[in-house]
Symmetry: C2
Subunit: 310 residues, 2 copies
């Protein structure tokens, strides 16, 4: 049983009431709390030593990543983050300076996005460090961008460049908050997700929630220079193109808009965010499944993105 | 450096803005989110195998405790819980049935208190299981009961019976949500906290935040039958009275009201909650420190409550 099968089983019978706009199964929970103009977003995410970072990772980067992952999920709903709680579990013999440096990295990212850190807790975990961050945010009422909503004929877009994140980007990425809000304000986003499990894996989450398929154009996938180098030098066993589709933790935005908006969006994006690449990588199809088109034709893509404990 | 010293150091420089009514250092964070009649409460808490429960603990009780601890903190502010996220970290080779049983215990307690479980995450932690729960709640605007606010002359009350919680109660306690709301609606609560670190330790949190002292009447402390039995049989090295003051995880309410309200409160409580003991255990004093009065006079009490990693 992999992570997604386990979650599907656990979330079958969760208690919920009419204030839950979106519960388990999207990037954030979305809650109706009686505000006339806004919904509340609620997200929690953990990083564990040896899984999400190594024992020799710079502590500032651990803090950056722990909060950044949650911020990226708020971005994926086109929301604005507001307040965070931080739980940190410390192994025996921890150094206070190390813990302070974790907070220093986390606080710097919080300040950058006007997030208040309103407390949390410390506990012990003998063998390894972990952090769990809980984050609140807001989104204009009725405008949370969900995973469901993609329609046949939509153009599929992705920000940035993909693959090889483990070489460093997974610790230093910038959550795409401003970009997501700008997109939601100016274009009819049908579906959006942030890339944590890899392009193929996360696109499949959109396809499943939206009950559609997708055809990607191989030459349009923005493969990162890192993924190319790692493939070339043999430090990754995957071809660069497969790394771009299946490496996890890019923390870029993947979204769909009606096909007729595609050219207008690319033009407007270049003016608004000239330093960040935006790629139209394919289209949503009525037939299910994920297919890749290259010079030789169209083939199904069957490899998975990164799946925890698979 | 103990847990509280570390937290004090980490919370010196946290980012915050004017929407933070209470940040680090109270039972929950209290947030102003633009609702005319309510404040938002925000809490996170973790339980770790080998620290908060043992490897042979019934999984339903692990789930109950994980959510119950957060609910108890919402109770300590006189709030009403609404929605929770659950992060669960699983060791290698976990059994799906075991995880489902954890959720079963957690969901049952959630349903009892009308809490929606709106998602969360699973991750891996190779050596031991842990759960982190994030919980939201509401409190009428301006009516969150803080740790600060106790005044000289206040009567000090505690619900239930104290000590020996590790024998079982720490896994089965009922968070005092209805009791706390009733208290806040009917009496002028000056300060409140839930007992997680032990009566002496948690009372010291109130005294420190309120800049006052306290004198407890030894004969009035409600020592649990379990604490008496454990002292008698030698399974606890502490005298029963000291166990009631210093054992952790009773999850009862400790609060103060003006002395003139004490008799009226005891009478009203007996009618409202006839099955749950309420004890007036002493008074708040202008002079700092914690003292105990018995037949021989008044003596300072210097032992600490339970302190993580001390």
């Amino acid at each position: 049983m992999n992570e997604f099968e386990l979650i599907a089983r656990l979330t079958r019978t969760l208690p919920a009431d009419s204030t839950v706009v979106a519960g388990a199964g999207d990037d954030c929970a979305v809650l109706e709390i009686g505000l006339p103009d806004r919904w509340l977003l609620f997200k929690t995410d953990a990083v564990v030593e040896g899984i999400h970072f190594t024992a020799d990772t710079a502590p500032e980067k651990i803090g950056h990543k722990a909060l950044g992952r949650c911020l990226s999920d708020i971005a994926a709903m086109a929301g604005t983050p507001t307040a965070a709680l931080v739980t940190i579990a410390l192994p025996q013999g921890f150094e206070v300076k190390f813990v302070e440096a974790i907070y220093s990295g986390l606080n710097a990212l919080a300040r950058k996005h006007s997030v208040s850190v309103v407390g949390g807790e410390t506990t012990a975990n003998p063998e390894r460090l972990w952090l769990s961050v809980a984050l609140l945010g807001f989104v204009p009422r009725g405008q949370a961008v969900r995973r469901a909503g993609a329609e046949a004929g939509d153009a599929i877009f992705v920000t940035g460049e993909l693959g090889g994140s483990l070489a460093g980007k997974h610790l230093e990425f910038e959550p795409r908050l401003a970009e997501a809000r700008w997109l939601a304000e100016h274009f009819p986003l049908h579906a959006m997700i942030d890339l944590s499990d890899g392009l193929a894996g996360d696109l499949r989450h959109i396809l499943k929630a939206s009950r559609v398929g997708a055809e990607l154009l191989k030459s349009a996938i923005p493969v990162s220079r890192t993924a190319r180098q790692r493939a070339k030098t043999g430090s990754s066993a995957k071809p660069a193109f497969v790394a771009a589709l299946t490496d996890g933790e890019d923390f870029e935005l993947l979204f769909t808009v009606p096909g007729a908006e595609a050219v207008k969006l690319l033009d407007a994006w270049k003016r608004q965010f000239p330093k960040l690449r935006l790629s139209c990588i394919g289209k949503i199809t009525a037939a299910g499944g994920l297919a890749i088109r290259d010079r030789t034709g169209v083939q199904p893509f069957t490899q998975d993105g990164y799946v925890h404990f698979a």
